[in-house]
């Protein structure tokens, strides 16, 4: 009797260990999401008020061309950002993996932007990409009179400058993940393919890259998480402009909730944003869980 009780206790230890985390998640993630949902059904302005108005905020939200632009921007930004980080990260990882000299130096150079916040580097990015101050001016002064690089001030192109800076920050991390993946691959298969006379590009394309699939998945999740939370970067570089051409849902939400005093409206945009996250993330999680 005593023994089985002890056994039961021992079996419960893992559950006890994760219980605090469980409670924290229930309250501070899911509880707060629920609170936010309730808020989105009210007419709160400056501070939370519980005067319910149904789905009014959502109706207004979907009638707003600015909100649609924010979603469109998020889509453009995150797909380009994720694709570029992975493409450049893969290229750099493959090249670094060619037994080159100064590997550590290159790796550190690629990785270090991850350590910096955009609060610190934002002004510099703004300068460098500004045609009157930065790169364009420099190249023109070097003698290339017709060189233009004015995306930052172009309503249609400004979102791409955000991608440039974001890629700068996160590519190194993806590169390291992929490098780690590359080094974990069994060399025998590759040697066998070499003996069969396959060219290196072909070996990479047909044999190595497919094996990196789990790493790609992790990278995508981490990058998507970064993309959705992108906030400081836009604030410091374009403040959402020119006009509001570089607005993102996170900026939209902050702007309406805190500086425009439309708290409930901001809350409704947060709910829609979470919904989108769910659409993209849940299938991945499902996949991840099924695998193991």
């Amino acid at each position: 009797m005593m023994k089985s009780k002890l056994k039961y206790l021992e079996n419960s230890i893992p559950k006890f260990v994760v219980t605090p985390t469980f409670l924290i998640m229930i309250i501070f993630v899911y509880g707060f999401i629920m609170w936010n949902f309730v808020l989105s059904l009210t007419n709160s302005k400056l501070l939370p008020m519980y005067n319910f108005v149904g789905f009014k905020q959502y109706i207004e939200l979907f009638g707003s061309s600015k909100w649609w632009l924010a979603l469109e921007n998020l889509f453009i930004f995150s797909s380009l950002f994720i694709a570029s980080c992975i493409a450049i990260g893969l290229l750099l990882a493959i090249f670094i993996d060619q037994k080159i000299r100064f590997e550590g130096v290159f790796r550190t150079i690629y990785l270090y932007p991850m350590a910096l916040s955009f609060i610190a580097t934002g002004t510099i990015w703004q300068w460098m990409l500004n045609p009157g101050l930065g790169l364009q001016k420099f190249v023109v002064e070097m003698g290339f009179k017709n060189f233009t690089f004015d995306w930052l001030v172009d309503t249609k192109m400004a979102i791409y400058t955000i991608v440039i800076a974001a890629v700068w920050q996160s590519t190194g991390f993806v590169m390291i993940l992929l490098l780690a993946g590359l080094r974990g691959i069994n060399g025998e298969v590759i040697n066998a393919a070499k003996i069969d006379g396959a060219s290196m590009p072909k070996i990479y394309w047909k044999i190595i890259i497919p094996q990196l699939r789990p790493v790609f998945f992790s990278s995508i999740i981490i990058l998507l998480h970064i993309a959705i939370k992108t906030f400081d970067l836009v604030v410091v570089m374009t403040k959402g402009g020119p006009g509001y051409s570089t607005i993102l849902p996170s900026i939209f939400m902050y702007q309406y909730s805190f500086s425009r005093n439309k708290l409930a409206y901001g809350a409704s945009s947060a709910m829609i944003m979470l919904l989108f996250v769910m659409i993209f993330v849940v299938p991945y999680l499902y996949n991840e869980l099924r695998k193991r």
Partner: protein, 290 residues
Amino acid sequence: MDVIIKEKNSNKISRILIYLVLSIFAIYFLLPVFVMIITSLKDINEIKNGNILSMPQHFTIQPWIDAWQNARIGASAHGIKPYFINSIMITVPAVLISSIIGSFNGYVFAKWKFKGSDLFFAFLLFGCFIPFQVILLPMSQTLGKLGLSQSVFGLIFVHIVYGISFTSLFFRNFYVSIPTELINAAKIDGAGFFRIFFKILLPVSLPIFMVCIIWQMTQIWNDFLFGVTFSDVSTQPVTVALNNLVNSTSSVKRYNIDMAAALIAVAPTLIAYIVSGKYFVKGLMAGAVK
């Protein structure tokens, strides 16, 4: 014979190409910080009249001294030094505690699965994606009720709460790659939950702790949103001070001091990356994110 020479040549060309590509990207990655450094060493007139990419004509480290201890931030002129100390007070405990919690959670999710543990893990992961703007107000209210409002403890608490999703993920993925046979053998020998953790897993966990610590340190040290929302003057982190220094509605801007302050503010994470970058890579290779 001919073929071999050709191959050698093409090999040489491809080597050169590799170094070329790597170097071009190195420039792209280095340029912004290079500009920050040279700007911080110029005097203000040189910045206003010169090219941002030109080297300083008259080197001066005065902007660094001003940024550290003289610059006016709000109503007092003591530079970013006190805020730097606040950031350390917040970051160190928050990083350590969230990493330790993450290690235990990861251990459970990897090696002591129970009914529903996978589902719980999925819930935990989804927690990574909550936009932080959403939690500012309810969290303020909660901290107020807990009596932690505007305190260092409050900030540490918030960082732990929203950090454990990631730390648990890192440790779980690392521990999954450790052979379960090892653990089963220990169980047969009568070792319990904690004994196995401390005797078998912990000794090999250094690389993953490094990954976790560096990741968390980057997140917490660089955080602005929580720092600005849950602090007061005695607890504001360095990012908020930096923001206060560089932002002004109607005053003259001193870009050299701004840049020096920014470089000082990022120094700890930067140094951490350079010094422990090796472990970071090792840790990731050992399977932090697979």
